[in-house]
């Protein structure tokens, strides 16, 4: 940059530190008897093509970031996030039962499902709305997306292990426990 004179430097500093655009009069009130307009003109030339621009809005002047660089002022950051327990349960129910309404999901889970849970699943891109059930109130249906299959490495929903597979893998153990308990109770009642 050309070394600026005192008037240019003063106006430059003032506009930089100002909380809002300043009129020529208010600039003059700070910097005293200098040619404010000449200083502004010089600054406009100095900053032409730089990352900062001197701009005039109505009768007021201020510095702002060059318009073509606005995209730099934001940074995108990827964050790995994991689904909550409720989220993964609802996703599993949709995958196994699709298309399925929220009421049906709740009936299967045995727990009320927060709206937010379905919103999060739609945000993941793994669940999509899939029409409406022809019932009173026409409830929305949910189904999985192709992204769902891709993410979980499935070629189709039929690849999901069935109930028998789950049982064989011990994933239904809690049921067996419940059943055994029931039998124990029945036996005890018999022996009375």
């Amino acid at each position: 940059m050309t070394p600026p004179d005192d008037a240019v430097r003063a106006v430059e500093a003032l506009l930089f530190a100002a909380a809002e655009p300043l009129s020529v009069d208010s600039i003059r009130a700070y910097v005293g008897g200098v040619d404010v307009r000449a200083a502004l003109a010089q600054l406009e030339r100095d900053y032409a093509g730089r990352g900062i621009a001197l701009v005039r809005r109505g009768e007021r002047w201020h510095f702002e970031t060059a318009a073509d660089l606005a995209h730099l002022l934001r940074r995108d950051r990827d964050e790995v996030r994991r689904l909550s327990r409720a989220g993964i349960e609802v996703l599993a129910i949709i995958a196994y039962h699709e298309p399925v309404t929220r009421a049906e999901i709740e009936a299967i889970r045995g727990v009320a499902t927060a709206k937010g849970t379905l919103d999060v699943l739609m945000e993941t891109g793994w669940v999509r709305p899939a029409g409406r059930r022809e019932l009173p109130g026409r409830p929305l249906l949910y189904a999985t997306t192709p992204d769902f299959l891709t993410h979980f490495g499935l070629s189709s929903r039929r690849d999901l292990p069935g109930i028998d597979d789950l049982r064989a893998a011990g994933l239904l153990d809690p049921v067996d426990l419940a059943l055994e308990e029931a039998l124990e109770v029945a036996k005890a009642a018999d022996s009375d």
Binding site: F16, R82, E89, A92, I163
Partner: protein, 242 residues
């Protein structure tokens, strides 16, 4: 000696005895390294004595310092006795001097720090920066195991009743009632109970036999069928009531 105007100062004006000592040392107007500790001690003691004769309250730590300085003064004035028990008075004086130098250095440093061009007072950042934004993109992750384990968990919680029922082949009483009532009207003759049963495996047949027997009794009670049996364990016959 203490200057008269200092006597009017309140003790509260000092940050403790060391601060007071430093103020008195400054009054000697010499480099702290060339300070006369003896003169300083005398000034301090005179100052405290003056306060006491004015019957003003003197804080305990100022009095403790006065007692210690009185001891130092006598040690400095009296001829040295070679005695390892007693600390060397010169060393005590030196220690006091070092402490004063350090406090003076920090006080001066603090003043120089405060006098710098300070952000927001002398130099300014932009008052209204556009600001930078970080846009966070969620990368959702879940494993297939999590998915099927979750389904197992849900099933475990809610499925037991469903799967017990599905596993057993039964004919309910309602079904038997309907079936027997329908079939019995299609023939005029006596027919065995077994002829009303659906085709099927052993377990279903047993269930159907029991239900159909109960259905036959129920229909007889309603007066819609007649029952006949020649002997115990003989075939049970039924016929619609005309």
């Amino acid at each position: 000696m203490a200057e008269p105007e200092q006597l009017t100062l309140d003790l509260e004006g000092w940050e403790g005895p060391l601060d007071l000592l430093l103020s008195l040392a400054r009054a000697q107007k010499v480099d702290l390294r060339k300070l006369s500790i003896l003169a300083l001690v005398e000034q301090y003691l005179a100052f405290i004595r003056q306060r006491q004769t004015l019957q003003l309250e003197v804080a305990a730590d100022y009095l403790v310092m006065a007692a210690w300085l009185a001891y130092l003064k006598s040690a400095l004035l009296l001829p040295r006795v070679a005695d390892d028990e007693e600390p060397d008075p010169e060393e005590l004086a030196l220690r006091l001097q070092l402490r004063l130098e350090r406090l003076a250095a920090m006080r001066e440093a603090g003043a120089r720090l405060m006098a710098r061009d300070r952000l927001g007072r002398d130099v300014f950042p932009r008052a209204a920066p556009e600001g930078l934004r970080t846009i966070r993109h969620a990368q959702w992750r879940a494993e297939i195991y999590d998915l099927i384990a979750a389904y197992g968990r849900v099933s475990a919680r809610t499925r037991p009743v469903m799967h017990v029922v599905a596993d057993r082949e039964v004919m309910t009483l309602e079904a038997a009632l309907a079936r027997v009532a329908r079939l019995v009207g299609m023939t005029l003759d006596w027919a065995t109970l077994e002829s009303f049963l659906p085709d099927g495996s052993g377990r279903l047949r047993k269930s159907a036999l029991a239900s159909s027997f109960l259905a036959a009794l129920e229909l007889a009670k309603q007066g819609r069928v007649e029952l006949r049996q020649q002997a115990p364990f003989a075939p049970l016959l039924l016929r619609a009531v005309r």
